[in-house]
Amino acid sequence: MSGTYLGMPAFPRAARDAVNDRTLRGNLRHATHTIRAKRARAVAEVSDWAALREAGKRIKDHTLRHLDRYLVRLEESVTAAGGTVHWAADAEEANRIVTRLVKETGESEVVKVKSMATQEIGLNEALEAEGIRAYETDLAELIVQLGKDRPSHILVPAIHRNRAEIRDIFRTEMGAWGRPAPEGLTDTPAELAEAARLHLREKFLRAKVGISGANFMVAETGTLVVVESEGNGRMCLTLPETLISVVGIEKVVPAWRDLEVFLQTLPRSSTAERMNPYTSMWTGTTGEDGPRAFHLVLLDNGRTDTLADRVGRQALRCIRCSACLNVCPVYERAGGHAYGSVYPGPIGAILSPQLRGTASAIDASLPYASSLCGACYEVCPVAIDIPEVLVHLRERVVQGGPAVREGNRVVLRPAKGHAAERAAMRAAGWAFTHPRALRAGQRLASRTRRLHPRTLPGPGRAWTGTRDLPVLPPEPFRDWWERTRGGKDETR
């Protein structure tokens, strides 16, 4: 994945800054609460939601089970329709392929549709290094690019910015990239959208190369699907002469018919709409309509490693709707940047440590970035049991064990920094299988209760920094039960 995130601190430290940033907390709270209620209404409108969710899950599971077959089928269909298929085992290879394809057109600038896959591989930086400028055209991506910022949400990468901040970025930065912001730009969303329209139109009209991802690829027909709102996607997909789509291998579905499930569940889960404003579907090239050349770059970059994990592979069902981010109480308070990846929130906490491995501090901490409240699983339109995968990845962090990295079987060692916890867990495990020892400990604690401090030193401060400790009772329940024969001898 992109080098942008190397050296990120572990999640708890990164989250602390966000928790204490009042503006950010307010922005995130406002946005996530707005969309939560809307999503619930949009989902309640369809009586067969549970059946659609189950079908979506089963389509993805079936596809992943036969992924080799469907990828080969997809390649045949796309090729037959006039497209060219490339395979990229990792980010570096994908960037090399795209750079070469752009250079072959003789162009030095490209327009981009918002795409998670190209962010994941750090394509813009790779192109820049080769003298090719990539213009992001999605409004939120534009805000992030102009603000020299990082995305913090899958659907709305600038969710951490409020309208006033966006206006300031447009005013100060647009001029350096092209058409400046209109004089007297205010912070009304309509004016901000208009400013983006004017700024980007000249880029759309002169662009010769477009770069996109895709939401779905249909193996049977070779059709690619991009779901969007603003029309920047349509611009990039239809006006340039060359279109390059970089798509994760897990985005394939077997048949045209499968779209009937996802085109119902995705818009309602992501923007809480019955249908998003624009969806583009194309199959190879079509004469005078649209690009003359179409390249599909199929990206692995850790996906097959994820597929090798019995429990973790369900994360590959994800259709990037971001409903799990919007309902997550941890995301709401920690913000997207704390996750140290283009994939933030609950899905990011299970995707990043699988795509990248758990070696870095941030990746080893992500499985713990959840209270396991289960709200993410409840809203997921493809029923990814995110808490199950989180717990599974916690096991991988503290216990190590077999895994696959870059296609090779490896045995991971337990992560550093968990030795004291492991010892404590083992000690507790011993006491809990030796009831007499447990009881002795409880009694000792009760008898010394007046000596207990109200705040704890060291790691205990993590609790007592913000919360009081409970006062220990004079006796544990089991002593009361024994003393009173289950309350029968109780004297009042």
Binding site: Q399, M425, R426, A428, A431, Q442, W463, D468, W480
Partner: protein, 251 residues
């Protein structure tokens, strides 16, 4: 019916009043309740922190202690969910790792007969009015494992609505997690504390005297937050409300 009280290690050590309330309540409803003294911990904290292998002996021990009873009742949604949802998963994982069916077979008997308290009252005993009296203004926080794990639904509310003298007020953002999350509370203490403070603020906004839940782990976190924030609100386990009568009111 031989009913075992699975009190949980947290309640045994820190909240014996909740245990006494469950005994009093069930006895009043004619349920013969036993407390197997060998009980310890279901292994939830181990499992959820990534120590599944360390949790396995605890699960086996649980099954040894409770296997013979007809029903196992726990005043903790998360511990009941551990047995009902995660014990089967532990069995499956052991099997997938090539350790055979032994663990799954050992754990299977306790899974279907483990009930969370409100579930046991409504579904097994078949009551919603337990004859309680509790003249206070109360708001109810449905804890995550009870709400989304066990699907307790309206059961706790129906029980509370039938309590004489009790005024139940709606908690804004009720379904959102309180931020406890076991070791999450210390591993991610800043986020956990922020979630707890928001939950307490929502509870205070209702004007209630009492924040009620069916899980003392969440109340441990919320209660500690309340006293630190200096609110007048009190955390009370639902069992203590349901056990309270005019003759023997809860303090």
């Amino acid at each position: 019916m031989r009913v075992a009280l699975f009190l949980t290690c947290v309640n045994d050590t820190l909240y014996p009043d909740t245990g006494r309330a469950v005994v009093k309540l069930l006895t009043r409803l004619g349920v013969d309740v036993d407390f197997p003294a060998a009980q310890t911990c279901c292994g939830q904290a181990h499992y959820n922190t990534g120590y599944r292998h360390e949790a396995e002996p605890l699960a086996r021990h649980f099954s040894d202690v409770f296997g013979e009873y007809e029903a196992i009742v726990s005043p903790s949604g998360s511990c009941a969910a551990m047995v009902r949802e995660l014990y089967p998963r532990m069995g499956e994982r052991a099997r997938a790792e090539g350790h055979g069916d032994a663990l799954a077979r050992t754990l299977a008997p306790v899974v279907p007969k483990t009930y969370e308290l409100t579930e046991f009252l409504v579904d097994v005993v078949g009551v919603t009015d337990v004859g309680a009296w509790y003249p206070h203004k109360v708001t109810y926080h449905p804890t995550c494992h009870g709400l989304r794990g066990l699907g307790l639904g309206e059961r706790p509310r129906r029980l509370l609505e039938a309590v004489k003298g009790l005024e139940l007020v709606e908690l804004p953002g009720a379904e959102e997690c309180c931020g406890f999350g076991g070791t999450f509370a210390v591993k991610n203490s800043d986020v956990s504390a922020a979630m707890g403070a928001d939950k307490v603020r929502n509870a205070v906004s209702t004007g209630a005297e009492v924040l009620c839940a069916a899980d003392n782990s969440c109340l441990l976190h919320l209660g500690g937050t309340m006293t630190r924030l200096g609110t007048a609100l009190r955390p009370v386990h639902i069992a203590e409300i349901l056990a309270s009568t005019e003759e023997e009111p809860a303090v």
